[in-house]
């Protein structure tokens, strides 16, 4: 166990180095176009380098090693690019959700809104914040591509990884749209929320990063069919477990650890599996009480407590915990198949714990 921890710790250091080198070159380039781009370069670098669990590169790395790959600088650079894609997803997510904070700091749209106010710029601060967040997200997305494309992979690896990478990104955007669409529906649905969890987390966070790893280790697509199946059988249930844990943390999480205010998802009115289960299993009185508070930006600490109690009383919290356990068990069971080597198995076992733990 200690030895594996050391492996991931070392991988993290390499990822941080690659991201930091890449962003420092890109920042210099942007500022060479115009010094007016300095706030863009600074805020993107700080967004990327001041935090992040690096889960997606970790999954890609572990799958690469588990498929017999021997990691070099080029591979680390390629998988580190996933963090830039994730930065795009988070920046746009915060904008769409109207979230004020990310990792305890102002979200990107709020940050640029504040710059606008502080410097008494022309026009509307809120619109400027929105536009800056749209563009910083777009920039992070194109930079992720540049980092992958310029990582130094050979032609066989490029040919092998690009289709997986492209499909992953389309699935991500599809999942994101289904998520915002869900927030507009009159009735919540456990089934629809599970589909969203499958696309946003099962596929985007875990299954596809694993396939990116295997596609870099084994460039012939037929030769990796069976290991990719095992990675899917591990990744999809684990991704759902990860999303369900995230749903619980959004309601019950400690602000000191989540970097978001307590009960932030309740204030946003985020329709999750947890909320859908609560509404399916509460009395009409409790449902009415829940809906009268849920999604109000003015929730007091007492209101948050009331909502939490309704969730707990409905049994939804317990059910979601059970679901996390059972999905995680399925995931771990899949590691015995498809020829994943022991080092890969050990890393992926550690990552399963890391991505579903209560105090994340």
């Amino acid at each position: 166990m200690d030895e594996q921890k050391t492996t991931l710790a070392k991988v993290r250091e390499s990822i941080e180095t690659e991201l930091s080198d890449f962003l420092s070159k890109q920042s210099a380039y942007l500022e060479s176009i115009s010094s007016d781009l300095a706030p863009v370069a600074h805020s993107l670098s700080s967004f990327l380098l001041d935090g992040g669990k690096r889960l997606r590169p970790f999954f890609a790395y572990s799958a690469f090693v588990g498929a017999g790959g021997v990691a070099d600088k080029n591979v680390i650079r390629a998988i580190s690019s996933l963090e830039l894609l994730q930065a795009c997803a988070l920046i746009h997510d915060d904008l769409m959700d109207g979230s004020d904070t990310r990792r305890g700091k102002p979200s990107i749209h709020r940050h640029f809104e504040t710059i606008h106010q502080r410097e008494e710029m022309e026009g509307f601060a809120e619109r400027y914040g929105m536009a800056a967040a749209v563009l910083l997200g777009d920039l992070a997305l194109v930079l992720s591509d540049q980092m992958l494309n310029s990582a130094g992979l050979d032609s066989a690896q490029m040919h092998s990884v690009l289709p997986v990478h492209d499909e992953m990104r389309i699935e991500l955007m599809a999942g994101q749209f289904l998520d915002i669409y869900e927030q507009t529906q009159k009735k919540t649905s456990v089934e629809r929320s599970l589909t969203i969890a499958r696309y946003k987390s099962g596929k985007y966070t875990i299954e596809r990063p694993l396939h990116i790893g295997s596609s870099l280790a084994i460039t012939d697509v037929k030769s990796r069919t069976s290991i990719d199946e095992a990675y899917s059988a591990y990744g999809l249930p684990l991704g759902e477990a990860f999303q369900l844990r995230d749903d619980l943390l959004g309601v019950f999480g400690d602000p000191a650890i989540t970097g978001k205010p307590a009960g932030d998802d309740l204030r946003e009115g985020k329709r999750t599996v947890l909320v859908a289960m609560t509404l399916d299993n509460s009395s009409p009185t409790s449902v009415a009480r829940f809906m009268s508070l849920f999604g109000s930006s003015e929730l007091s600490a007492n209101d948050v407590e009331t909502l939490r109690e309704i969730i707990i009383e409905s049994g939804a919290r317990t059910r979601v915990e059970e679901l996390i356990d059972s999905r995680t068990s399925s995931a771990l069971e899949a590691l015995g198949h498809g020829g994943i080597n022991p080092v890969g198995q050990a890393l992926l076992t550690e990552l399963a714990a890391l991505s579903t733990r209560r105090s994340m």
Copy 2:
């Protein structure tokens, strides 16, 4: 002249076919994930297929042919992907500018806002429209990449084109940010507006599509240095001329042709080279009168006329027309250099007229 027209008309048909085939497959794929994605697939397809001048693929095609390339289906597919990137830019642009229309139809954020209202969905229509536009733009961006990556290019072409493509997209996002930043400044600046025109149009619309074309025809980077220099010498001034024409059309253009309400840029308060020149060359009284109307969403037809008169009286309209002429002449002169073959020269001469003509 007729023969070249025929060439571009044929190229246009091939581009439409490739886009239509690609989008029909992608739409089916998205709807297989969830029928809730049907509005996404439909609106993106209609955005792409119901109009568009296809300028960027035309430039790429002409540069490819001018560098001695013989176009096949794979190359057409690769350069058609530029239209999906442009769709991302336009969808996000309209959102950031708060534009209600695009090509005479509702812009994407307004379209989804209307769906929200019509179907009496939960939450805020405006927020839903914004989120949908963010995600549709993102989706168009990742689809453009998938279309390029899966076009069937060989390894040498991929290795050659990807760095140019990546750099183009970073320049695009940089130019877009400088543009929104410019709108927040107390003072307009001809120089800053020209830098924006250089990045948004010179590089993104013309120079880089040309380099994409040459990189597909000549995969060895050293062997295309001199033709790429000629393409830059043609593309950068022509791109500025194109942007300056766009600025004039935004103020003086016929709504029936531009697909935007008359004087839309005046209502948006868009700071362009034209506006910066007007303010630099008007009396304090005219400047005050101009600024009291400029950027007000409630402009009457009379107000638009007043603003137009101040622009004309300052001499800015004439100067911008002169600038368009001189930049276009420089561009055309560059076609005699770098070994661009006669067919390429003829096509690029036609495109120079097409991209700067008054009735676009």
